[in-house]
Symmetry: C2
Subunit: 293 residues, 2 copies
């Protein structure tokens, strides 16, 4: 989605900040690009210090206050950024008059939708309040991985076999709206990511390795892909320092992510860290993935 | 597979015993049916006391000694029973003259095959030694789940929705030769089983619940199915006391397993334990699964 680049017609940018470091990077990068972002910091999710930015801590279900912020601050564009681990309970939902009719559907989605369904709903609710939801990549396109190795190390023939196997599993997983990541070791899928997230999945792989349930003679790869049906304005797969550390601890040879649709946080530091750990990071393109989908 | 029921023509039954309680139940049940089973207890896998049975502890890759036991004891039928967590390393492989030529293929399968591929290989190697591999169900058919509720509690409408969602995920997972189990809560898949096994997966679900990443307002179900392509003589999905306890701790409403293709260990105790915990256990039939496969 192209963003409106005429500053005189633009309102303010809001960042709805979930967990992890991503929202802070997004806020800084947006500032560097001349934006003055207003941070809606989600209570129970972000634990970062937001004092350098105009911000307010709000519950994710508090549409009423979020909508009031939009009006008071002249917000016209919203970026959703960072993980949302805790789904609001019904008692946390504070609807606006406009969103009141949608509450039964919201509750149903919160109770039984996959992450993807929940994000689609959040986007719909925000856009009903008059702001446009844009992707992190529309503000900071340089975070996106390109095709090919991002650092000095390249996958070898065995690694490509693991990439293929893990990518096929990640596609199946994404279609089920369960998660975006899979790990294959020696041509065998050994872990699929659920709501626990990538770091916890990698810790599981490290434990399986220690317990001898995975060959210690093959290294393996982590693959992260968008879900086939997901809205690209929310929850793009991302990697950063903790992913590299997790991959190292799990004994993996490298990480493959979807070119043009996955984010590399603190890119130069993350890639240096990978290279030092002997881990490749590579972007795989749609031609590679087409047959798997 | 029909077993040869003429005692006078039968040789001795061997049970290759992996981890867990299943092999001991199988050995006792076989004894109760007039067999005199010889136990090949896999080192590093079974920690049970086998002193009531003729037995020998051997490494899983030690075809040489396993084959010698077959000859010495007149073994003509073999049951593979219990989990094999540790795959042998190449240095553990002690081939016989007959299996020597197969070693390169064996090593490749051990390094990169899924569990299913490893079991198929084990069956092939055993049958090359002149014994026939039969299923646990050929010895103790009463362990198999039948269609419908096994205890007093039945799944309700929401549970059936979760069964459907988890079963579809389990089918996809099985096709990838990753695992046999999946958990859905409120219509959403929250965990897929990998080499960590069902108990560890259920512990993960319990942790997700505690951390608020899964709704506390929907209970959810565990579904365990055969992999579509698996050999039914090894590694049938099974449930027992630890599964019920894990499901209870994860807050699940119940467990659905494949009728005719899944084992319920210590059946009456397991089902009573489930009923006391308010958990249903139900067998789902192929008509239900046909559309998902």
């Amino acid at each position: 989605m192209a963003i409106d680049s005429r500053p005189e017609t633009r309102g303010r940018l809001a960042i709805i900040a979930g967990g992890g470091m991503l929202p802070h990077h997004v806020a800084e990068a947006a500032q560097a690009r001349g934006e003055n972002p207003y941070i809606i910091a989600l209570s129970n999710e972000t634990v970062l210090d937001w004092s350098d930015f105009d911000h307010q801590f709000l519950g994710i279900g508090n549409f009423k206050s979020i909508s009031a912020v939009f009006r008071a601050e002249g917000i016209d564009r919203v970026v959703l950024s960072g993980a949302v681990r805790r789904r609001p309970e019904w008692r946390d939902i504070k609807p606006t008059f406009k969103t009141l009719a949608k509450v039964p559907g919201v509750l149903k989605t919160l109770l039984s939708g996959g992450d993807d369904a929940v994000l689609k709903m959040a986007i719909e609710l925000i856009e009903a309040s008059g702001a446009r939801v844009i992707g992190v990549q529309d503000i900071i396109p340089e975070l996106l991985a390109q095709t090919g190795p991002l650092g000095a190390i390249e996958p070898d023939k065995d690694d490509w076999k693991d990439i293929e196997v893990a990518a096929a599993a990640a596609v199946a997983l994404g279609r089920l709206d369960v998660g975006q990541g899979a790990v294959a070791v020696g041509g065998r899928v050994v872990a699929l990511e659920g709501p626990e997230g990538t770091d916890a999945m990698l810790a599981r792989v490290a434990a399986l390795r220690t317990e001898g349930r995975i060959s210690t003679r093959r290294r393996g790869v982590l693959v992260k892909l968008c879900k086939p049906q997901q809205d690209l304005r929310a929850d793009l797969p991302s990697i950063g320092a903790s992913t590299i550390e997790g991959a190292r601890a799990a004994g993996l040879a490298g990480i493959a992510i979807e070119a043009g649709r996955a984010l590399v946080l603190e890119r130069s530091a993350t890639i240096s860290q990978a290279t030092e750990a002997g881990i490749f990071v590579t972007g795989i393109d749609r031609a590679f993935l087409r047959d798997l989908r």
